[in-house]
Amino acid sequence: MRFRAKIVDLACLNHFSRIINTIAKLAKTCILRLTVCKLYFILSDKVANGGASMWCELSQGNFFDEFQMEGVAAEHNEIYLELVPENLSRALKTSQSAKAVKMKLTNKHSPCLRVAVELPSLSSSSRIVTHDIPVGVIPRRMWNDFREPSVPDFDVSIYLPVLKTMKSVVERMKNLSNFIVIEANLSGEMNLKIETDLVSVTTHFKDLGNPPWASEDGCQSSAQGRDLESMTEACIDIKKLQQLLAGQQVNPTKALCNIVHKRIVHFILLHEEVSLQYFIPAIS
């Protein structure tokens, strides 16, 4: 099992740090899955913690100048590591002006992900800051726990409004209530609602557009023949939604959400070759 990678380009490095920061805001610990082409950050939260899950996928070629990895076995050429993303985020904090960042899987006393940040130096000798981040190697028999969640057979799929507006609305609503109802229809309308003994607040967004999903995945079929105006709704933990909106630094070019009536809300944030999916189960 071997892993060694290097980022040289500053723009790639900053983009990579932003993604790690986002993940650190969403998950205390997560799984880093490495394959030949891709990196995955995976969170599958226990039901007791609210059961939110995350799936973040990036192509290594868009970030890394060197990327070598050898999995546990030739036929299973992958590595699954458990780590605290906050540690990685902190290690990358010094990298804002770095010349290069090297990452390497080491096993001196215990398995570690070594992050070596090479900083610019005025003299001929280089300055290198090294962080050893403890990781847990996930044995193969447990890999099945971290499979990609299937896109749920949603009732409505809708583009999200400007995230800054949505963040501000959700933040105020969080002061007022612990739960939020998200509802949307197939005419590009979405409402955010809270209701307590003191106050009820509804924010109406319109003209958002509904993404065209290919009919081959069968999702569209369930939507066909349905009333375009009727609302599909799910009530979720407002803190989870607020975390996603406040923590995301992905600056997505596309953001959308899929709602399974009273079951789950599935958020997808896309930025070039990065995709972040976040699942928040509904509270009945």
């Binding site: 609503m173 607040v201 509804t202 924010t203 109406h204």
Partner: protein, 281 residues
């Protein structure tokens, strides 16, 4: 848009209905009196008064004159209700508190009458928010009976002069002592804290002093914890009028200019802490 999201037609009977192009004009003033969760609102033809009290010793009033609103109509002589100020502020600032140039939150506010909720319709960039805030039985408000004819001493200061003083107040002191006098030291703020006493004097001919009308020497103490919340209003204001009456009641009147140059007032009344005898001076 669902029916519920449509602002009611102006023809409908509302005890109070008002609209405002920029909800920040209201929210920033309300924030200046937000030191307790609940506020009592009184709407009359002249405008809206929002009152917050604490410990039966301090009262803060924010006045938003009818002219500030684009539309302001009250069907009865006066309309009064109590409301959670924190909730009202969260609703008014639902689209954020930052003032990006060119964007403002438009507000329409309706209240059908006793027992009904206060309805807010807010709109920014095509996004509409509807809020229904439950109202409560209004409180009996304190009557400080502070009228201008009973004022003994009055000073008008530019707020920057008081801002610095309030920012540096020794919070270990239980009281703030205010001396106003036709003779030296004219206007003195004193604190008596763990590290010793501090006195701050403003000369009568200071540039900060806009007006000085003191007819007799008065020294009164006020609980610093009660006065501290008024710093929120002080921060927004351009001028402050400091007045005391014969019993030592204090009135702090803050003149606040909003982004559009309109002028509003926030007033704080505070009871004196105790009567100090001549011997203590």
């Amino acid at each position: 848009m669902p029916l519920s999201a449509q602002p009611p037609a102006s023809g409908e009977r509302y005890a109070l209905s008002a609209s405002l192009d920029n909800a920040r004009h209201l929210s920033s003033l309300l924030r200046a009196v937000h030191f307790q969760d609940h506020a009592t609102c009184l709407a009359t033809a002249s405008g809206l008064r929002v009152t917050v009290e604490d410990a039966k010793c301090i009262q803060a009033n924010a006045f938003i004159q009818a002219e500030i609103f684009q539309e302001f109509s009250v069907q009865e002589e006066s309309v009064m209700f109590r409301i959670s100020l924190s909730v009202l502020l969260d609703c008014l600032t639902i689209f954020g508190t930052s003032s990006l140039p060119g964007t403002s939150t438009a507000l329409r506010m309706c209240y059908r009458g006793y027992g009904y909720p206060l309805m807010l319709f807010l709109e920014e960039g095509g996004v509409v928010t509807v809020c229904k805030i439950n109202t409560q039985e209004p409180d009996e408000l304190l009557d400080f009976d502070f009228c201008s004819t009973k004022v003994v001493n009055k000073i008008i200061l530019q707020s920057e002069g008081l801002r610095e003083a309030f920012a540096e107040l020794d919070m270990t002191s239980e009281v703030l002592q205010i001396t106003m006098s036709p003779d030296k030291p004219y206007f003195r703020l004193s604190t008596f804290g763990n590290a010793g006493s501090a006195h701050l004097d403003y000369p009568r001919d200071s540039d900060l002093m806009e007006a000085f009308h003191c007819s007799q020497t008065q020294t009164n103490r006020y609980k610093i914890s009660l006065l501290k919340p008024s710093t929120k209003a002080l921060a927004l204001s351009c001028k402050v009028s400091i007045r005391t009456d014969a019993q030592g009641f204090l009135s702090l009147q803050y003149m606040i200019r909003n982004e559009d140059g309109q002028i509003c007032f926030v007033e704080y009344y505070c009871c004196p802490d105790e009567n100090i005898t001549e011997a203590e001076l």
